[in-house]
């Protein structure tokens, strides 16, 4: 199965790739570069050798005013210390910083430091040790007012400006500030502040509306990917291939229908599928449901499949079917949109039908039942409306070809198609 998909995709891909030959290949694909391996940013890995003693709880260590290369460790709250390293990494000397930057502290090393030389700023007066939240009383906030702002001359030369040439200072790493959850003083539970003012009832309604309007919506989509006239030897025919969904980002009701036939005859094939579609990754949905055949012998199938966007932007729809007669079949479709201009799009398309067993009643032989390769050129007058022309070649293969010949049909048919692709 995998090989089949690969072959199919290569087949579909080749026209598109070939068309790139006009571009010079200025970028040879080099051997895989060694993957830069920044240690996961979350994994605390401070250099243990340089580990200074962690400051004791409430050790009132005033911030150094001097631009000392050795940084004061962030004031550690006991709780935070238990969850994240508070130890600074090696001495962070501004001068040597470019190359020696270890990755993988609790914080990104590019995190600028804010304990740089503050010059005349009266930081020393601020007792960081006293910032233990447990001990923090609301009045303490007012202490900020006591800070000597007046003494801060806005024109004060910044030390970084001096090194940087202009006001562009480089962010400088800081003794890591611990990644930590909120302290107990942050409270807990949902956001309900407005209820005290406007009432619980009024807020509940607005909250539900907000939830819905902020990612909770459902959308409906319908697309006729192919709705076309098929000119060919013998009687000309028609084909439809439509699908649509209704639902949210993850779960959707998905419906599909396709069918084809020759004018003046009963439809050769027609079916409708009703599926539950569930996003299983960024690009693929898992789909399961039922398929009802509307032409030929009455068949109902259980369906399971995947649909989505494969690497290199192939639209893939692959499904396996188990009929009420116990027959197992599968269908894989792939499409690729090759834009020629913003509106003119060439769409190679391939489809392969497989069967696990002979199904004489349907003229299907075990193995590869049929193969279709086609290409359609569409013009998007609007994104939603694009007439197209194209050609598609169908082959019945193996046992299916024998069945076709026995029935007096040509196992190989070339269709010249004209149709319209539209969606809303």
């Amino acid at each position: 199965m995998k090989t089949l998909i690969t072959i199919l995709m290569l087949g579909v891909a080749s026209p598109a790739l070939a068309q790139h030959s006009g571009h010079t290949m200025t970028m040879p694909m080099p051997a895989p570069a060694k993957k830069p391996a920044p240690a996961p940013a979350k994994k605390p890995a401070p250099a243990p050798a340089k580990k200074p003693a962690a400051p004791a709880k409430k050790a009132a260590a005033p911030v150094k005013k001097a631009p000392a290369p050795v940084r004061k460790p962030a004031p550690a709250k006991p709780k935070a210390a238990a969850q994240a390293p508070t130890t600074p990494t090696a001495a962070m000397d501004h001068g040597s910083m470019g190359e020696a930057m270890p990755m993988g502290d609790a914080m990104d090393p590019t995190m600028p430091m804010d304990q740089m030389d503050h010059g005349a700023m009266d930081h020393g007066a601020m007792d960081h040790g006293a910032m233990d939240h447990g001990a923090m009383d609301p009045a303490m906030a007012m202490d900020h007012g006591a800070m000597d702002h007046g003494a801060m001359d806005p024109a004060m030369p910044m030390d970084h400006a001096a090194t940087g040439g202009d006001a562009m200072a480089m962010p400088v790493p800081l003794a890591p500030i611990p990644l930590a959850p909120p302290p107990p003083e942050a409270g807990s539970g949902p956001a309900r502040a407005a209820e005290a003012i406007y009432g619980a009832e009024a807020m509940r309604e607005a909250r539900e509306a907000l939830k819905h309007d902020t990612g909770g919506q459902s959308f409906a989509w319908f697309m006729a990917d192919r709705a076309e006239y098929r000119a060919r030897q013998g009687r000309d025919g028609y084909l439809w291939d439509v699908q649509g969904y209704y639902g949210g980002d993850i779960d959707k009701f998905w419906f599909k229908s396709e069918g084809e036939g020759s004018f003046g005859e009963k439809p050769e094939q027609a079916e409708v599928q009703a599926l539950w579609s569930h996003a299983i990754g960024p690009w693929f949905d898992l789909q399961a449901g039922v398929r009802q055949d509307l032409a030929g012998p009455d068949r109902t199938h259980a369906v399971i499949g995947v649909q989505g966007l494969a690497p290199y932007l192939f639209d893939i729809d692959a499904a396996a079917f188990l009929s009420n007669k116990g027959d197992v079949t599968a269908r894989i479709e792939a499409e690729y949109d090759q834009r020629i201009t913003q509106r003119l799009i060439l769409q190679p398309r391939g489809e392969v039908n497989l069967a696990a067993q002979d199904i004489p009643a349907l003229g299907i032989g075990a193995g590869i039942d049929s193969l279709e390769l086609g290409v359609r050129l569409r013009y998007e007058f609007a994104r939603e409306f694009a007439p197209y022309i194209g050609v598609e070649q169908e082959w019945k293969l193996g046992g299916s070809a024998d069945f076709a010949r026995a029935a007096g049909h040509d196992p190989s048919v070339t269709n010249y198609v004209a149709g319209v692709r539209f969606w809303f």
Partner: protein, 616 residues
Amino acid sequence: MLNDPYDRRSILRASALFGGLALTAPMPAWARGANLAHGTVRQGFDQVSGASIDLAIGEGMFATGGRVGHAFAVNGSVPGPLIRLREGQEVTLNVTNNLAIDSSIHWHGILLPFQFDGVPGVSFPGIKPGETYTAAFKVRQNGTYWWHSHSGLQEQAGHYGPIVVDPAGADPYAADRDYVVLLSEFTPMHPHSIMAKLKKGDAYFNHQKTTLTDDYPLSAADRLMWGKMRMMPTDILDVSGSTYTYLLNGHGPDDNHELMFRPGERVRLRFINGSAMSFFNIRIPGLAMTVVAADGQNIRPVEIDEFQIGTAETYDVIVEPTREQAFAIVAEAMDRSGMGIAMLTPAAGMRAAVPALREPILLTMADMGMGGGHGDMQMGGAPAADPAMDHAAMGHTPAPAAKPDDAMGDMAGGDMAGGDMAMRSMAGMNMRDTSMLPPQVKVGPGLDMVAMNPQDRTGYPGLGLDKVDHRVLNYRQLSALEANTDRRTPSRAMEIHLTGNMERFMWSFDGKKFAAVSEQPIRFAYDERVRVKLINDTMMVHPIHLHGHFFEVVNGQDPAHQPRKHTVNVQPGSSVTFDLTANEPGDWAFHCHLLFHMHAGMFQIVTVESPTGASA
């Protein structure tokens, strides 16, 4: 509105000239440049001020440049009125909802008690049809801000306007003329229809995709690489000029919007990005701009020639045109699919040449979260890559201002040179190595990429502006004019990942849409000082906005002068860090200010506990 006691310098003439300030400029509609065929919604805005201000939310038809559509209009205009306040005053804002649906107004960037912040479902229940909602508070700040609806997608349809708060004392950047330049978009398309197309269509609004016949500097190998990733290098903005007409003060490029000056005057332009989904590149060819405020907060002056403004950001600039000639104020959409235009002119009717749209741009390695990020490494590297991008050398030699990244993280060796890096890094790389994510990030369909080496790119000027040959503003140049009051070292740090799936148009924080975390807000203790690192695991830039607070962007300035912002752009595949003093108790919205990203789930509630410890 009847009486503006603060209008000493008779400033903000934009409103007078083009909004038709009813009393001082009793001009008929045609004289204000309004098209009589419009219907009911006026382009441009009035000014309202005083202790009690009435606003009425209505609707009507809006037209510009041949596009006509439905709009929400406050006090009858788009944008709605300029709310002009004075620092220190008490203000009562009475907002009447004349729509048939709920509405709201959020005062963006204004510090106030949370219950007046205007976010339905977070700070209040919303304004029901026919109801008048009153917000009364003391104005504690000055600067340039704006207001907009926080209900559904109303903001896209015209429900927004500027706020200017005059300082209580002298303005360090007083100017002879003072104009609001509010950037926004108009589309005749219903916002819900835009959302549906974003969900269902394949980059529906992008008409600059790679094709067989494009001129993008991409090799076949580059194209294959992008295809392999199932990403598009042209995913710059989700909604483009294909449906948007870009507005300056409510006027489209063909509407001849004029801002007057006399040569020699200092002109202050208060740029407000009130758009729903657009980043703009702002320049005034022929004039240098001196940036004096960001997000309403004064900064030390920085002279530049161009800047990129993210959605919901504001920048005040001063220009000093000395010649008797007109200058074009160009607001080019970041994806270069369109632009807004106004004329800075000494005489009515005088025009300056409008530059053509520049070439569309492409995402680069850095935008994939591969570190590097020197901007030169545009995939395909048509522009000659700056050779010898030697990391060792970069470390601390004073890197030129424009160097976007100090990249102290080691990129696979540190000796790679420019263009070669692209493919070399790509080979064997896993673009979605979820093992690198912290445990709080939910791995699922809503996460299509993990930035493997996200760098702090506060030195990056913005997509497409790293290669221009003039001076472009970047965050590292922002230095607060008035020193920050809280310079404590944060007691703890936290990380928030910005996550998304371009294909499915899913957007979230930490892989979880708001609906999944609506009962688990981000909590802070009162007055807690926290360092917050935003890591962008997507290839789009996100303007992240925290309500009710200013945070200080950790940009390499000393802590006293880290710039205070309410909205910070997190570049694709990169990180931004800010220090927050959580001293505004209550529940606050925290979200991506790209309207449709928020609408898709990139939203959270931040709860700041009250000082007493009781539930706020």
